[in-house]
């Protein structure tokens, strides 16, 4: 019985304890992600050079959405968070949410979003 449990533990170690998930993306997925990231970066720079967009209120939100998309794509596919254990997701998203909340809070307190 104890050996069966050890067997089960060993199998568990083999799959997850090494930190290597079952299904990492294939090479073709990595290349597609790289192309998407390049397009998003080009789009960001293009938006920066279009005065009619820069003059609108949409300029900053567009850039933030594009940056967030790049951020999420890298984290999900290159850092394999989409495929990895949920504890890793929690270890990253928890502090990330705190960090983002801190930035927003500080901007409201001292920055350009200050409440008067």
């Amino acid at each position: 019985m104890a050996l069966d449990q050890a067997d089960a533990n060993a199998a568990h170690v083999d799959h997850t304890a090494m930190g290597i998930a079952h299904e990492h993306p294939t090479w073709s997925v990595y290349w597609k992600v790289a192309v998407i990231l390049t397009i998003l970066t080009a789009l960001e720079v293009w938006v920066y050079y279009i005065p009619s967009i820069v003059a609108t209120h949409w300029f900053v939100p567009i850039l933030l959405v594009l940056a967030a998309a790049k951020f999420v794509i890298v984290v999900l596919f290159y850092m394999h968070l989409r495929y990895d254990h949920r504890l890793f997701r929690a270890l990253f998203t928890g502090p990330l949410l705190i960090a983002m909340s801190t930035i927003v809070a500080l901007l409201f307190l001292f920055g350009h979003l200050v409440i008067k």
């Binding site: 050996l3 069966d4 050890a6 067997d7 533990n9 060993a10 568990h12 170690v13 083999d14 997850t16 304890a17 090494m18 930190g19 290597i20 990492h24 993306p25 090479w27 990595y30 290349w31 992600v33 790289a34 990231l37 390049t38 970066t41 960001e44 720079v45 938006v47 920066y48 300029f59 900053v60 850039l63 933030l64 594009l66 940056a67 790049k70 951020f71 890298v74 984290v75 290159y78 850092m79 394999h80 254990h85 504890l87 890793f88 270890l91 990253f92 928890g94 502090p95 990330l96 705190i98 960090a99 983002m100 801190t102 930035i103 500080l106 901007l107 001292f110 920055g111 350009h112």
Partner: protein
């Protein structure tokens, strides 16, 4: 039916209570703490943005009396766009290096498979691209100093050099880490059992990349 001793010998370490490797848990915890560090640096930059009394300024031309003479906006978006692209490509090289190590034991028949399966090539490419990014940063810092912007000049200079300097230091550490892996690969060859150490380095490298994604937008593009 495997016995625990055999399992331990085979996998190189005992099973943990979480069933996860401690090293990988540690790197994710470290990355989480790094999120906080860069959040503090980014928020400092954003709070001080537009509050410099003296020029030069990031996006605006500076004229007397705010500057001794007319000074152009210091940020060079085309150059930084190229360095951003370089860092994104380095992330691609990094995942290809990891995939090559994971599949090191699989037979490779075609030239494409041999190139994609060459971990030394991709580790070297990642380190080279990281070094190229650092070269761009050195060029940028030097040109800023020539334009009259140092870390002591104004609030923009202080917060900008601190933020991007910290990021550059992280990239430098990543390049050294990559070169260490490359040396190991040349010495004894990285096998699938070594995939975890490459994965941990890759996680750090991609994190450095996503931090730059945020910096590029918040510091360089938004004005």
């Amino acid at each position: 039916m495997a016995n625990p001793a055999a399992a331990l010998e085979h996998h190189g370490h005992p099973p943990t209570t979480t069933g996860l490797d401690n090293k990988k848990v540690a790197i994710w915890a470290f990355i989480g703490s790094e999120c906080m560090l860069f959040a503090s640096l980014i928020s400092t930059y954003l709070i001080y943005k537009g509050r410099s009394v003296h020029g030069p300024f990031p996006h605006l031309v500076c004229s007397p009396p705010l500057c001794d003479k007319v000074m152009p906006a210091v940020l060079d978006i085309p150059v930084t766009s190229i360095s951003t692209f370089v860092l994104l490509v380095s992330s691609l090289a990094m995942v290809l290096a990891l995939a090559a190590v994971e599949n090191a034991d699989k037979p490779k028949h075609t030239m494409g498979e041999k190139i994609l399966g060459n971990s030394r090539l991709w580790l070297f490419m990642t380190a080279l691209l990281g070094t190229t990014f650092l070269g761009f940063q050195a060029y940028e810092f030097t040109s800023f100093v020539h334009k009259g912007l140092t870390i002591q000049t104004n609030l923009f200079g202080s917060s900008f050099f601190t933020l991007t300097g910290f990021h550059g230091a992280h990239v430098t550490a990543g390049v050294l880490w990559l070169l260490t892996l490359l040396a190991i690969d040349f010495k004894r060859g990285l096998k699938p059992k070594d995939a975890l150490i490459v994965d941990i380095c890759a996680l750090y490298w991609h994190f450095v990349d996503v931090v730059w994604v945020a910096i590029f937008t918040l510091v360089y593009l938004i004005h």
